[in-house]
């Protein structure tokens, strides 16, 4: 070779190890993600370890301490059956978080698969898929969920299915539009010239490049699902009492809002904080992944 070798100038690029680290480091260094961790971390920590806390069980009634305002003994107070609201809130958070993550996961997986197929192959598959998503997107999501729950019955699994049903079309659309723009990239053509299979193209070239925006959408969907679940439970269509979901807790207290504000308000604040935390999280992920948002 007459050509001289081009060696990498050392100062320009860090080596691979630090690059991987810097990905995580950048995620943790982002102020929004730090904020999200500061909000969600304690809530999750308390929820996971609530059985170790010196709290009465969420269903344990105490007729000696009914409708007590927040105090050192009961940080969030008690409801009209003397149940500890902090304990019930944490149990509710557990259910809410489960619903949130189940919905996000379901929407992510189904949306990823269907959206990829629809965008990649196009044609009849795409038209049928788009017709179906259009139908579902035509209904307000809460209305759709209410309708579904009334058919499927109440409980955890129906609630998760009902909420994801309105999220899945959105994810299919999102994934499809990303696939459409990736499908004609030169690197896909390059792989096609060596007769790479469709599965190879989808799994190696398309999905790795769409997963990041989908994660952002999933964290928003999780926050939304928690709110919708609370709404359904509040309407008496979600998790059945006495199971302590956050929506149930708010409903329990709504008739006593003037006498005992803490029964509804404090679980409500927790919902708010979870929703805000998840939004910060998605915003942070987006900021880190999207180079344009960096100044």
């Amino acid at each position: 070779m007459t050509q001289e070798m081009i060696t990498l100038p050392a100062r320009r690029w860090s080596d691979l190890g630090t690059l991987r680290q810097s990905g995580l480091w950048r995620l943790l260094g982002n102020s929004r993600i730090q904020l999200a961790i500061a909000i969600l971390g304690p809530i999750l920590f308390l929820t996971i370890f609530r059985s170790m806390l010196p709290l009465p069980g969420p269903l344990q009634t105490n007729l000696q301490a009914m409708t007590q305002p927040p105090s050192l003994g009961h940080l969030f107070g008690t409801d009209r059956m003397g149940r500890d609201i902090l304990s019930r809130t944490l149990a509710g958070v557990q259910i809410s978080m489960f619903v949130g993550f189940a919905v996000a996961l379901l929407a992510l997986v189904v949306g990823l698969v269907m959206g990829t197929l629809s965008g990649f192959f196009g044609g009849v598959i795409d038209r049928i898929m788009m017709a179906i998503t259009d139908i579902f997107l035509a209904f307000p999501s809460l209305l759709l969920a209410i309708g579904l729950v009334s058919v499927l019955g109440t409980g955890m699994i129906p609630v998760v299915l009902a909420i994801s049903l309105s999220d899945v079309p959105r994810f299919i659309r999102l994934q499809r539009s990303m696939v459409l723009s990736l499908r004609n990239r030169a690197y896909i053509d390059a792989a096609r010239t060596v007769k790479a299979s469709q599965v190879w193209l989808m799994t190696r070239h398309i999905i790795p490049n769409t997963i990041a925006p989908l994660l952002v959408a999933a964290s928003i969907a999780a926050a939304n699902a928690i709110l919708v679940e609370a709404g359904l439970s509040f309407l008496g269509l979600g998790i059945m009492p006495p199971e302590p979901s956050l929506g149930n807790l708010i409903r329990d207290g709504q008739s006593y809002l003037e006498q005992a504000w803490w029964i509804s308000t404090l679980p409500g604040v927790v919902i708010l904080m979870i929703a805000i935390g998840l939004h910060f999280l998605s915003d942070g992920i987006r900021q880190v992944l999207d180079p344009r948002s960096r100044k």
Binding site: M1, T2, Q3, E4, M5, I6, T7, L8, P9, R11, R12, W13, L16, L19, R185, A186, Y187, D189, A190, A191, R192, T193, V194, K195, A196, S197, W200, R204, H205, P208, N209, R294, K295
Partner: protein, 665 residues
């Protein structure tokens, strides 16, 4: 920079007036999170009335930032931190936004690279053109409209009275750029700033626009700053040239003097990277090693020292200032002759490849058609059909390079996709002995950003089940070595590479399966001149070493004729001239080839002056309804009724050439 004084005295006009524009010690910084990028680092020059100055340099040299600084049009976070910009004796840098707005458009007009984004897509041309004219020239709307139509007519927009009410999307790129020029000139500016105004256009359109700008500025007596990276264009267009490197002018002077006697090593290297017009024997193109310096880091000594063959001790310690080298000619180098003796050292001869009739034919294309059928408006109407490729026949022998040239829309990229089997042909035969692989135009989208380079190069091997893991890694190393990269690249990601390195990786990937032919679609058009030479040299080397055939698709005729053995000139989906590269380039037979070659700017101001200055008029007709006769008849200076009625077929013109023209012989 007080050494400017005597020079100014040299240049001062006899009437004793000040220069039109006098830039003094301009500094522009971009205050980014990663540090301060010193984009412009003390630039001084002046422009007289009616003078056209070209500013050339690689991307990142600060030429655009400099031009934008003049009118304070810098994008955030750019900021002019120091300097004087005296326009007719008034310092623009000290003006308020409000005062500057009076200058913009009225005294200084601007034309940008991308006519797509410079015009508002939802406003009619009239609505974008008339209000500024009313404001700048104090006219009522009727008069301003007449003025606007007059300008549109001047810049060669047919039927200007009607087209003024068109939207930008109803016009082609060339037409939009004409509208931009009309808008810029309608304020009767004293100075025009044009930032790569023809880069997005075809050579023929570029030639039209350049002629137009030249004519109109000399007519109105406006001065002009012309930013470009195309040295050929500079030779055709400019009175003076400024060469920028790392935010500084490294050489400045009259165009003929700079091309004949460049003094700075960077200017010398830039000129040597262009394939020469006279190609009796092919020499390797000079290439500039290394990268431009990181403008965030402090610089000690000359900015070019790391890439300069003539650098000596002093260059590492002290930065040279511009010194006088001739009348009005200044250069910033410690050596009086720049590279001097070292300049021609690299230019080793490229031994010509021997081709014989016995070499096996690796690609044979016979009567190839590709038609794209749209959807018809009404079900009983015949759907519109675009005949992108309309019956072409080609063949390529082992080790041969076929160049395909033509304006955009002539079907050359479609031919590439058909050769690679990415799209099915409508009719005709393609025979490829072995495998066809591709190198793409846009180095940015050629690679999956989530894959390591080793995986990218290996992908063809993995997909076809070639060898085991160890063998594949060994092959990857071998390929990297062939394209002149070292092993450390294997674990990098595409976003860590420069444009030239990406194109090397693209070539490595294309070579992985030892293809018989590599199709390269505009592989160098997104690259800087210095890097372009590296890639062309690499392809010439590979062609000799591996005896792999190339199909080189480009609109850059100089490059195509340098690298190719045969050239096929395409027009509207057909080959109009086909034959040995040197012959086609030196003695074109078809009027279209002649026009294309005439449109290519040659980096030699003396030769440029002597050349035919009549650019091909008009634009490519719509491929939706092709004329029944010769497709080129609508733009051909020699067209007759016979041409319009009867289609000329590709016929033998000489022993090694064919042309499709009734009057070629």
């Amino acid at each position: 920079m007080n050494f400017l004084r005597p020079i100014q005295a040299l240049n001062a006009s006899p009437t004793g007036q000040t220069s039109l524009l006098e830039v003094r010690d301009l500094h522009t910084h971009f205050l980014t999170d990663g540090g301060t990028v010193k984009a412009v680092n003390g630039v001084s020059f002046e422009i007289e009335r009616g003078e056209r100055i070209a500013i050339v340099g690689e991307s990142g040299s600060g030429k655009s930032a400099m031009a934008m600084s003049l009118l304070r049009l810098l994008a955030y976070p750019g900021k002019v931190v120091a300097g004087q910009i005296n326009l007719n004796g008034r310092d623009l840098n000290r003006m308020s936004e409000r005062q500057l707005n009076h200058i913009r458009g009225r005294e200084v007009g601007t034309i940008f690279q991308d006519p797509m984004s410079s015009l508002d897509p939802v406003m009619k041309i009239a609505d974008q053109m008339i209000p500024p004219i009313m404001r700048h020239l104090d006219m009522n709307s009727e008069k301003a409209r007449a003025e606007a139509i007059g300008w549109l007519d001047r810049v060669g927009i047919p039927d200007a009275g009607r087209r003024i009410d068109a939207y930008p999307f109803e016009m082609s790129g060339g037409m939009r750029q004409r509208v931009m020029i009309a808008m810029a000139l309608s304020g009767r500016p004293k100075l025009m700033i044009a930032d790569e105004p023809t880069t997005a256009l075809d050579v023929t359109i570029q030639a039209q626009i350049v002629e137009l700008l030249k004519e109109l500025t000399s007519e109105t007596g406006a001065g002009m700053i012309f930013i470009t990276h195309d040295l050929g264009l500079v030779a055709r267009f400019a009175h003076k040239v400024g060469v920028m490197y790392a935010g500084k002018l490294v050489e400045f002077g009259p165009v003929k003097d700079i091309f004949a006697r460049p003094c700075h090593p960077y200017t010398q290297s830039l000129l040597d990277t262009i394939p020469p017009v006279d190609q009796a024997e092919r020499r390797k193109l000079a290439q500039i090693p290394g990268f431009p310096p990181d403008m965030k880091l402090p610089l000690v000594g000359c900015a070019f020292k790391d890439r300069c063959a003539a650098a000596h001790e002093r260059c590492f310690v002290e930065a040279p200032d511009l010194t006088l080298r001739g009348p009005g000619h200044r250069a910033a180098c410690w050596k009086p002759e720049g590279l001097g003796e070292a300049r021609r050292k690299d230019a080793e001869l490229v031994p010509p490849m021997t081709h014989s009739e016995e070499d096996r034919v690796v690609v044979e294309v016979f009567n190839l058609h590709k038609h794209f059928t749209g959807r018809s408006v009404l079900p009983w109407k015949v759907p519109p059909t675009v005949r992108a490729v309309n019956g072409i026949s080609l063949n390529i022998r082992e080790g041969e390079t076929l160049g395909i040239v033509g304006e955009s829309g002539c079907g050359k990229s479609t031919v590439a996709r058909l050769l690679l089997g990415l799209d099915p042909a409508t009719s005709g035969d393609i025979y490829v002995d072995g495998m066809a692989q591709m190198v793409f135009q846009d180095p940015a989208s050629s690679f999956n950003p989530k894959m390591m380079l080793a995986d990218i190069i290996q992908e063809p091997l993995v997909v076809t089940g070639w060898g085991n893991r160890m063998e594949r890694a060994a092959r990857t190393r071998e390929l990297l070595a062939q394209v002149g990269l070292d092993e450390s690249y294997m674990s990098r990601y595409p976003n860590q590479l420069s444009g030239g390195q990406r194109q090397r990786i693209a070539i490595a990937r294309a070579l992985a399966l030892k293809p018989s032919v590599v199709v390269a679609d505009e592989p160098t058009s997104a690259l800087d001149v210095s890097v372009r030479a590296q890639i062309i040299n690499l392809m010439v080397d590979l062609k000799r070493q591996l005896r792999v055939s190339f199909v080189f698709i480009s609109h850059d005729l100089l490059t195509v004729s340098y690298i190719s053995d045969k050239i096929a000139v395409m027009y509207l989906g057909e080959v109009v001239e086909y034959g040995a590269a040197d012959e086609v380039f030196r003695n074109p037979a078809h009027p279209y080839t002649q026009a294309l070659i005439a449109a290519v700017p040659v980096p030699d101001p003396v030769a440029e002056e002597a050349r035919m200055k009549k650019p091909l008029s008009g634009e490519l007709p719509s491929p939706l309804d092709l004329p029944s006769g010769c497709a080129f008849a609508s733009r051909c200076p020699r067209a007759t009724d016979h041409c319009r009625a009867e289609k000329p077929l590709l016929q033998a013109y000489s022993k090694s050439r064919e042309a499709a023209c009734h009057y070629a012989n």
